[in-house]
């Protein structure tokens, strides 16, 4: 495997690079980009670059959201439904005049749903994360279905034009949105709460013993994630320009897979969000590869599911190796 940038000059720095938990993901990403480029004829054109990022951006944002929640030792299965809810709500109520106001309402809705409801239930009320977010997922999806049982609603043309447009000639707007999201994450990663998220995810008892309020940190993680769900929801809205309750569905499990591929342990406390971003890109490129390889659309769904299962299995292995509970073989 040859690194594109040919980093074989400094052996020592290369060695420390391999220890970086996001490193395998980066390698896989580079490999897949090469594969994609070879089977998709116009991969390196501006047009393809732009359209790729239109689909990639929401997934990367959701992966960041899921990554933060998983790092805190939890997991949220309702992220996709929250996006569907945002999507249907805004598309249904939006008109040219009240667009901004509705978007703001949608923002509040998302923060309450993904942030407060899930955060309080799993953090303060200590309900088991998986099944609780599964339940809230049904609730959010249900509301979305009530609002828009069939696809419809209205999204101003300008939104779609903006999302598929570029600035400064070559920078796709969708990519700029992604950069903005990454910037927000980067700022957050320098705060005390961010380190506490790792602490709670790695050793919840120890974090509590160190004076950290674990439920507040869990809530913080969820609220921060909800911000990214909002941005992702906006992207999806602008991308599809319509309200449809099915739009959000694939994001849930894909975000989990992206996080696992990116080297973040599902048990929490370990790994880097950068890995989750790589993981999301990997999934995006994989989708391209599957699409351009010409397999039937039915088989595509199978493959997408299989990838998730594979990612879970591979992700389970390091955890297995790490927990050497030798006294009891269970």
């Amino acid at each position: 495997m040859y690194d594109k940038r040919n980093n074989f000059r400094f052996g020592a720095s290369l060695a420390s690079l391999t220890k970086w938990p996001s490193f395998p993901a980066l390698l896989i990403l580079i490999l897949l980009v090469i594969v994609n480029a070879s089977i998709q004829p116009n991969f390196f054109t501006m047009r393809s670059f732009r359209s790729n990022f239109m689909t990639f951006t929401p997934l990367v944002l959701v992966a960041i959201a899921q990554g933060i929640i998983i790092l805190s030792g939890s997991l949220d299965l309702s992220l996709g439904s929250a996006i569907s809810l945002f999507n249907c709500f805004t598309a249904y109520y939006m008109t040219d005049e009240n667009a901004v106001f509705i978007i703001l309402l949608g923002f509040v809705l998302t923060v309450i749903a993904t942030g407060f409801v899930n955060g309080i239930c799993t953090g303060r009320l200590r309900m088991p994360a998986l099944i609780t977010t599964f339940a809230t997922s049904a609730i959010y999806l249900g509301i979305a279905m009530i609002i828009l049982p069939v696809a419809g609603g209205y999204v101003p043309r300008s939104f779609y034009n903006f999302y598929k447009g570029t600035a400064l000639g070559a920078l796709p707007n969708s990519l700029s949105i992604l950069f903005a999201g990454i910037l927000i994450w980067w700022v957050f990663s320098r705060t005390r709460a961010y380190r506490y998220i790792y602490a709670v995810g790695s050793n919840e008892e120890g974090a509590f013993a160190s004076g950290i309020s674990t439920w507040k940190i869990r809530l913080t993680a969820h609220i921060f994630a909800s911000l990214f769900i909002f941005i992702a929801g906006m992207c999806v809205l602008m991308m599809t320009a319509t309200g449809e309750y099915r739009t959000g569905q694939s994001y849930t499990l894909n975000s989990v897979a992206a996080v696992v591929i990116g080297g973040i342990a599902l048990t929490g406390g370990r790994g880097s969000i950068v890995g989750a971003m790589f993981g999301a890109l990997i999934l995006g490129i994989l989708n391209n590869i599957i699409f351009f390889s010409g397999t039937s659309s039915y088989l595509q769904i199978f493959f997408k599911g299989a990838i998730i299962v594979l990612a879970l299995c591979i992700g389970a292995v390091p955890i297995l190796l790490r927990s050497k509970k030798r006294i009891i073989g269970v």
Binding site: L75, L77, C121, L125, R126, M127, P128, L130, I131, T132, F134, A135, T136, S137, A138, I139, L141, G142, I143, A144, M145, I146, I147, P149, Y245, L253, V256, L266, S296, Y298, L299, Q300, I301, F302, F303, K304, G305, A306, I308, V309, L312, C313, A316, V317, I319, L320, I328, G329, V330
Partner: protein, 327 residues
Amino acid sequence: MSTVQNMTRTRMKRFFDNKIIMAFILVAVLFIMGQIIVPGFSKFNHIMSVLQASFFLGLVGLGQTIVVISGKEGLDMSVGANVTLGVVLGAAIINGENARLLPAVLAALGAGFTLGLVNGLGVSLLNIAPLIMTLAWGIVIEGLLLFVIKGHMFGTGCPALELLGHGSIELGSLKIPSVVVIWIVVIVLMWFILNKTKPGHVLYAIGENDKAAHLLGVRVNFVRTIVYGLSGTLSCLSGLLLLGFVGSAHLNLGARYVLPSVVAVIIGGIRFGGGEGNYLGAVAGSIFLTTLQSILVTLELSEGGRQLITGIVLIILLLAYTRRQRR
């Protein structure tokens, strides 16, 4: 307060603490409400038809029950895909001929079991959280089915199957649906197996404390894997019988069983962490949810509304039953 009053209070408290009884009371309440909303709701025939419809959820719920009892926050989210598999497999193999019923049953049992084993392996050997593992694997099964079907359903059920799934038995002047009879047999059988046999005891043990079970000689991973296989079998079988009930089928038939089967189990008081619970509770839960659905449909609530209500019911149950303790 005298001792007699005290005793009655404790007995009353124990009565209401018994989740199964609570579940059946809820069912009764629901039927009363149903009668108010739709006169004739609680007539014998209609009750029978509700029970008939509940059977399929109840069979799926049986698989869910044993998976939850087996511990580690066990759940099987692939039941929907397996139900659909049962429908598709049944239709394809039987294709109208009675003689092909038995091979179809065997195929359904085999396929469901094998697919369920994959879940079991992921959960036992790789330690992947059951909810996620089964959710993901369910998607794979669905995708495979979609591909094989290529969007078109082919084949149909057969008269024998329709008799099983849709027919009834006459008992004097009462018509009792065949599936209700089957269900009663299953309930009795399960009660016996879970409470009075070796496998039943072992199942509860690994759910209650798998470390202790391991040290006492149980091959925990093996047992768990088998349990998930059985859950696959049961939902596949349910799908096959569903084919007889509905007559023809479409592809989304199975998905609507996933969430309700989980809710039914929790309504029934089966402990989410494993090691405790009774199938009878899941039976009550299945009847409750099916009845609720039917009432909501009568009230012309949309599918979204029904999903919303089911989700809210689940959240309330989770709040009541599953909060982790702080020291």
